[in-house]
């Protein structure tokens, strides 16, 4: 879903840069308060994993492929603002080193994949998890919410992308929206599977490294006090 140069015009990519720069600046400022020795390598490795996973295009229907975004995964593991920074790093590296996504469209790509696919879908995860936690145990509610919100994140990012293409006068919304949303409803299934599997593994092996998972963290804290 990386928008290249030429699809958007300045009246769309300009404001998109503004919004993305604002969120990224805020994230840099807020993350400073929470940064510690353990987060530093974790953030780097999450970025590296997402870069690698984004290379793995899987085929979906009709000669189309899709790839993992990882924005919701990063937000769930590290916290939403840290997750946004991871996505900014990945998108910046892809744009500058690999010509994947245009430099003019970078703001829009951060907006679609980092802010909509990351922050917004993480807010949805938190809400879903709080509802589900009343019915099922926390780990299950996290995994179910992650599956649903990561799928939704990809679909919403595609919807945002089609709005931008429409605003830029590239293609009518009535054509872009159904085409983008329908193909990303399929791609989102891959996103949900990868996100859920990674979170299932990490919540089992290192539950303390999952920001959105609180249960066992309390036990660890108690042990540390003793």
């Amino acid at each position: 879903m990386h928008i290249p140069d030429g699809f958007l015009d300045p009246k769309v990519w300009g404001p998109a840069y503004g919004v993305s720069a604002g969120f990224t600046g805020y994230a840099l400022y807020k993350v400073r308060e929470k940064m510690n020795e353990k987060v530093i390598p974790l953030l780097g490795i999450t970025a590296a994993f997402i870069f690698a996973a984004q290379m793995l295009n899987f085929p979906v229907a009709g000669g189309t492929s899709g790839h993992f975004l990882g924005a919701l995964l990063a937000c769930t593991l590290l916290g939403p603002l840290e997750g946004l920074l991871v996505m900014v790093i990945v998108l910046l590296v892809q744009c500058l080193f690999f010509a994947d996504g245009g430099l003019t469209a970078l703001g829009a790509n951060i907006f679609n994949m980092g802010i909509i696919g990351g922050l917004l879908s993480y807010a949805i995860l938190v809400y879903l998890k709080s509802l589900l936690s009343k019915v099922v145990e926390e780990r299950k509610s996290l995994l179910i919410s992650a599956a649903a919100s990561s799928w939704l994140g990809v679909v919403l990012a595609a919807a945002a992308c089609s709005f931008e293409l429409w605003l830029a006068g590239t293609i009518p919304l009535s054509i872009a929206f159904p085409a983008m949303v329908s193909v990303h409803m399929l791609i989102g299934i891959g996103e949900a599977i990868i996100t859920t599997v990674v979170l299932a593994v990490v919540t089992l092996s290192r539950p303390d490294l999952v920001h959105a998972y609180s249960g066992p963290k309390l036990e660890v804290a108690v042990q540390e006090v003793r």
């Binding site: 030429g6 994993f49 085929p59 193909v183 290192r206 609180s214």
Partner: protein
């Protein structure tokens, strides 16, 4: 240096876990990515079908200095090797970028606050 060796001693589990994460990322980037689907992705396919892909093809890229455009390392004839090497380079660049950026953020904290656990919810 003593601080670092203490940190390593206290966080053996974390270091093993992170190393495994890095190994998985390198393996995916180097050995799996050459076999990824080369079909156009969702947006590209829509652009092709709806006839606006030419808007990108006719536009000069705003940044012309990407050393490895389209994940293909120049000068390497074998396509699979070329993609795998691009994957390795990309994984290392994102790893270093992530660590350097968070290290700078960390150094901007007041020294007294640096090891305060603040990341937990």
């Amino acid at each position: 240096m003593e601080k670092i060796s203490n940190f390593i001693k206290q966080n053996k589990g974390l270091i093993i876990f992170l190393s495994l994460g890095l190994i998985v990322s390198v393996l995916l980037g180097v050995f799996v990515s050459p076999w990824a689907s080369s079909s156009p992705d969702g947006l590209e396919k829509v652009a092709e079908d709806k006839g606006f892909l030419k808007k990108a093809e006719e536009t000069e890229p705003a940044w012309k200095h990407s050393p490895i455009p389209d994940y293909a390392l120049k000068g390497v004839k074998n396509e699979k090797v070329s993609t795998g090497l691009a994957g390795l380079i990309g994984v290392l660049i994102t790893l270093v970028a992530g660590i350097v950026i968070s290290l700078v953020i960390w150094l901007l904290r007041r020294p007294s606050e640096r090891s305060r656990p603040g990341h937990e919810t």
